[in-house]
Amino acid sequence: MPAVSSDLFDSAFLSRLERLRLQVRRVFAGARRAERRSRRTGSSLEFADYRDYAPGDDPRRIDWNIYGRIGRLMMKLTEEEEDLRVAILVDCSASMHWRPADANRPSKFDLSRKVAAALGYLALHGMDHVEMWFFDTTLRGESGLFRGRPAFHQILRFLRNAPDSPGGTRLEDSLERFGKRQRRRGLAIVASDCLDPAGYERGLLALAGRHFDLHLLHVMDPAEWEPTERGDLLLRDCEGGGELAVTAGPGLLRAYRDEVRRFREGLRTWCSRHQAGYSFISTDAEFDDIVLRMFRREGLVQ
């Protein structure tokens, strides 16, 4: 599986990745000490608040300067830096494996795995907990929790061993099942083409409604929004197997492009309305541009 081979992440690329870190819009409670702000006050140097002294408090945290000025014992509270739970869910449905026969660019699935690997590395580097999932009509594979950079090879191994029985896409079942299994909230990154015949709203809402910090990586192939085939065609859906005969003329193709554009705009609007991040990834885009520029521009990394 060369698409997620560690050869692609050369040392220069990794060193550039190490200058980045995942960014979340919300503050979550962590399990272990790490490098990320949490809701708890703790032992870091970052000032959080003051409160009155109560018996049993650690006298080392009394602010004697305040006592000298106002004569009251005040406890100086600092933020507790904890880890973040980062879940990366990669759509492995048949549509993600589809690509035009004459195209030499990666499939949506291959590109999604590479992006997932890069984001996983970022999380590991930030001492966050990382877990990865595959899904199509349901959850297909779970990587388990990883922490620390040495676990990167385990992530790569998991991504390389993706399930090879692609089926359709059912976002609602898959993401709701994932949401229910998570006891801790955190950052949820979903890489999918969102081509669910039942619609994407309920599936994404299963995460956003459970207070995950959702970020959608919407992956599409250029041939999907700009088809070039013309004439009388018998189109076959690679997921459902359904067929549709069309006469692809300029008018019809124009209507098709408008339809795809409306679909993308709808996704973007939905994410914005539900305070979820949205990144549109084209399979003909440069991988470095996606990770180092697009994600930074759209607030996924900083």
């Binding site: 999907e224 009388d232 065609l233 859906d237 459902g240 005969a245 006469t247 692809a248």
Partner: protein
Amino acid sequence: MNFLFPAAWAWLGLALPIIALYLIRTRLERRSVSTLLFWEQIRTQSYNSALWRKLRRWLSLLLQLVFLALVTFALTQPLAPWQTAQPTSTVFVLDPSASMLAREGAQTRWERAKEMLDQRIRQLRPFDRAALLVAADPPQVLSGWTASRRVLLDALNRAQPVGEGVSLRAALALAENLRSTQPNASIQLLTDGVWRDPTEVNGKVECVWVGEPQPNVGITQFSARRPFSSPGEVRVSLEVVSRGEIKMEGTVELFRSGQLVDVQPVSLEPGGAWQREWDLQAPGAEEFEARLAGFPPDALSVDDSARVKIDAVHVVRVILVSTPNPYLEAALDALPLVEWVRVESLSGFPDPGALYVFNRTVPPEGFENANALLINPPSAGFWGRPDGAVERPLVSEVARDEALMRHTGFSNVSLDAATKWQKPPVAQVFAESFGDPLIYGQWDDRRHWALLAFDLEGSDLVLRTAFPILLGNAVESLRPSKTVVPSSAPGRVESALEVTAVGDHHAAAPAPGPGAWWFAFPLWWWALAAAGLWLVGEWWLFTRRITE
């Protein structure tokens, strides 16, 4: 309908492989897509219905078959009924007179006539023949009989108006000769009907009329001449005529070598004329120009000005070969612009511009072609030989129309004696005494010599006015310039733009062939053009996926 190449219908057999190819192409091309979601959303588009796909396929096949049918039809070279009709032959004659330069709107009549003729030539069918003449004098044959429209159009492009020197009679006679060489031939004259002599156009000519009557003021006559009595002067004559329905007022300006010398106000009633003469001292060469100014704009501009050039006066040299003779010397002294000298004998070569007067002497060797007036020569020569004497000579006949004898009065001249001469055959008798020549010779454009068969001293001719007039005629005929120099004004008829009333003036002759321009093209050409357009349309539908 006839076909020149009916075997080409076999090309219709190509319809079979075309139909076969369309039957093969009925299978849809299968394509795998990531989803049908978007296609399902737009499946209501009209082209997606199965009925349309079937119709579209049959429409496409029909377009191809019609294209094949059109091309095959063109290859058979069909002939329409009107194309198999009798071929025609037409002699087109263009009237190039000055009145054809009258402007009517944006075009002159000449341009309009050429445009009409261009249209008629383009309407000729491939087997029609035509010839093209311009009624100049002599007539110009721009194209003989030809069926090539390109040749005729090239010839038409070369046609130029000539203004003066128009001869409809000669052109129509030549056209009649051309017409007689072809069966079913006709003559068409493109003219504005402004003819000096309407009898030049006979009934066999179909007239294609150009132009409408127009108001015009123009110079119809402008000339300059040196009076005989005063060669150092120039008499300039001008005539202006008006044709219109209102009174015209303006001025006439006379220029002499570019300098304005006179301005005369002119007021012309409709159809009226204005004439004027100027006497001007002008011994040298001069150019006179008359211009009309201040008149309302009119149709014909070429007659709004006229120019005339007159040469300087020419001094004629006279060599009198004679003993002293007071009569001759006095007469030569009295002649204006004459430089004379008297000699006793001659030698050398003659001066071709001089007049030699041999009084009782004979021209020496080499003077056979000199301008000579021999007065009773003593011996024979190229002028004849003496044959006794004329008995009781009396001037009985005078050829007054001859230039030498003009205005001379010999009726009461008495002659004491005269020599009877046997004149050479080429000589002409100018005056005779009952059959015996008294004055004869050859005085025309080729040679100038004359012989007087009597002595001046033996008659009273020297006392009569006829004698200096005779000498004056001899001298004047040697002057190189004409006495009257006319300008190139178009003329009274042309300037008046008077249309000769012949038949129905505005009933233009029909064009040869069926009449419409598209009939000029063969049917196969139209079929091929339709096939080309059909192909373009089919391609247009194909590129928009309306057909396949």
